[in-house]
Amino acid sequence: MGISRRNFLIRSAALAGAAVVGSITKVRAGQTPDSRGEGYGVLIDTTFCNGCRKCEWACNEWNKNPNQPIKAYENKSVFETYRRTHAHTFTVVNRFINPLNAEPVYVKKQCMHCQDPACVSACFVEAFTKTGRGAVIYNPDVCVGCRYCMIACPFDIPAYEYHEPVSPGVTKCTLCYDRIRRDGGLPACVEVCPTETLRFGPRKELIAVAHERIRNNLKKYVDYVYGEHEVGGTSWLYLSAVPFEEIGLRQDLGTRPIPDTGKGFMFMVKVLEIVAAWPLVFAAFHAIARLRKKNADTRVSADDKNAEEHDRKS
């Protein structure tokens, strides 16, 4: 088996091919360019919320999660502990205390539907999609259950059906995509909200509304729309009278979309794999040449000899 020029070319091409196939990466993590800064969203004005938790009830109702009669949601004792989303609870309302006047502040928590979502870029089977309407939706039919999306989410939202033995899935708020995909459809929580805390609409409009409210009432609001820039922007936007840090909304997340953190690495790996291929291929040729020289010198095995003679004849 001699290393002919043809062989060399074939083998080199195969290596290069493998490196390139591995490098076909989408520049944008699972979203279409027109969905950036577009789509719908919800504006939450926490100054209006009275903690009635009807949104929780409506969410459970619509998503067929275990539910209680709406009366049961008047129970205020749940506010004693801070809650997060769980497998069959896509939204929760938490109570904080305003440090200025000791009044309660109620803050709804659910998937933020990021403009450039971490979960979408984390998922190795594309189970998440950022839709043009703004909703980030999940497809249980391909999910393998690695829970990397839960590691990735900066808002700690995706939850897991740990007690589902064979077909567990990730669960989270869907922005009621099955309702809003029709024009005029509202998310269940927005529809039920009696206090105008929640407002659904095109994200751009909501941002304008939010800034207008701040401008019109500078004394009342913190001059900041939470979600406008957080991790590249989110579809859910918050207004508050108290600093966001005090109501469970982290302000240290930065404005860089989370998927960007890994892009440089993905690119570098491909570059290095292509660049490193060549010295390694030549090192391999060198190693083989050395081996053949040694074999030719010593002629150790009759098998090898026969095989080589066979090669020479053909």
Partner: protein, 408 residues
């Protein structure tokens, strides 16, 4: 007459020769009754039912995992540490096949076998962690998440396991007495190594890059843009250390397999592996310092997490770096071996810190493994050791096969 009979017995008893190592079934069973086998059997008797329980009843009742802490020791130890420690095949394979360091001849086959088993059992560990383990091949055949670092890892794992198989398989063909296959696979080994170097570097660093996506969750002392480089260099350290430690261990356990053993030469090679480890550890240490300087995280060193970070840096990085250097300076193979064990511990600690202890450090809820998680991890490690012993006892891993000339 007698010769005839033995020949007949031989040909009719392939199983006896290959599987029972030349003994009858009864003799073989008797030879298996040892203390270590007893302990291994006990571990399997406990862990296999727990494994089945996990697969049937799901993650909820068999783990302490939660929505806040979705990854536990199956990721931190079985996968992240396991893969780092399986870098021995990469390190020795590259030195031997590509850089022509022929003196490491005797280290190649055991190192590659360890790597192969390391990867296979890491994937087994991963299987228990995956919610829908029966969908393991999905990223390869059903749906491609091309933007995901995990996707890169999945593909690289699959390809690298094939690479390791090609590198290891000449031992298998010798055992099965398949000359043609052995010849072909031996020739492929250099190419497999080239391909292996490219993709192993990629996925070892990618395991670190997995955590780049969680800047708000991983403690700033551990989070760094250099995470991929940290994981790559520490994997090389792990690979070198595991080769030092394991070669010393197998030399003792499988004494009868190691023929023409030259202990002076062995010590010399051990020390030069220690030399490389020392250099890699110093590089790693200074890169870690650079990371601190770059991110301005010095003040965090005086917090409880900072003390823990300093412990990792000083006791598990700087100390072994100096001890390896001491071993080189004073030609002390014994110190080198124990230092390798320390370095291995340090790398496991680093992986556990990154994925569990310093992860979600500001969440009120902490994770600690449930007993069943520990039992499954111990069970997987035991299975890997049993597989290693089974193969080493039958195939030419620690010695040359008498019927085949050295392929090197």
């Amino acid at each position: 007459m007698q010769k005839n009979m033995t020949e007949k017995a031989d040909s009719s008893s392939w199983v006896r020769k290959k599987i029972f190592m030349g003994m009858t079934f009864r003799e073989y069973l008797k030879s298996c009754v040892t203390l270590t086998n007893g302990i291994a059997a006990l571990i399997l008797i406990v862990s296999v039912p727990v494994m089945i329980y996990r697969l049937v009843y799901g993650l909820g009742p068999s783990t302490n995992l939660s929505d806040t802490n979705p990854w536990g020791i199956w990721i931190g130890i079985d996968v992240l540490s396991g893969i780092a420690l399986a870098a021995g095949g990469l390190v020795i394979g590259t030195a031997y096949y590509l850089f022509g360091m022929k003196e490491y001849h005797h280290f190649v086959r055991p190192a590659i076998l360890t790597s192969l088993l390391g990867y296979l059992f890491a994937v087994l560990g991963l299987l228990f962690d995956l919610g829908r383990y029966y969908r393991l091949p999905y990223p390869m055949v059903v749906s491609f998440g091309l933007s995901s670092i995990m996707f890169l890892i999945a593909w690289h794992f699959a390809l690298y396991i094939m690479v390791l198989f090609v590198e290891w398989s000449p031992a298998l063909w010798e055992w099965l007495n398949m000359r043609k296959a052995r010849q072909w696979f031996s020739r492929m080994a250099v190419w497999a190594t080239v391909f292996g170097v490219i993709i192993a570097g990629g996925h070892q660093s990618a395991l670190g890059a997995l955590f780049l996506i969680a800047p708000g969750k991983l403690h700033p002392l551990w989070y760094s843009e250099l995470l991929p480089l940290y994981f790559l260099i520490s994997a090389i350290i792990a690979g070198l250390s595991i080769v030092i430690f394991e070669s010393a261990l197998t030399r003792r356990i499988f004494t009868e397999k190691v023929e023409h053993f030259d202990s002076g030469r062995f010590d010399r090679l051990t020390i030069s592996l220690g030399k490389a480890s020392s250099a890699a550890l110093f590089t790693y240490f200074f890169l870690k310092l650079l990371g601190l300087a770059h991110a301005h995280t010095w003040p965090l060193l005086s917090t409880p997490y900072g003390f823990w970070f300093l412990f990792e840096m000083l006791a598990c990085v700087l100390l072994p770096a100096f001890l390896f250097a001491y071993g080189v300076r004073y030609r002390n193979a014994k110190v080198t071996r124990w230092t390798a064990l320390l370095a291995i511990t340090g790398i496991v600690l680093n992986r556990v810190n990154t994925s569990i202890i310093a992860f979600n450090w500001n969440a009120p809820e902490r994770y600690y493994p449930l007993w069943s998680e520990v039992v499954i991890t111990v069970g997987i490690i035991t299975m890997a050791v049993i597989a290693f012993r089974w193969i080493v006892n039958r195939m030419a891993i620690l010695h040359e096969h008498p019927d085949y000339e050295s392929s090197h």
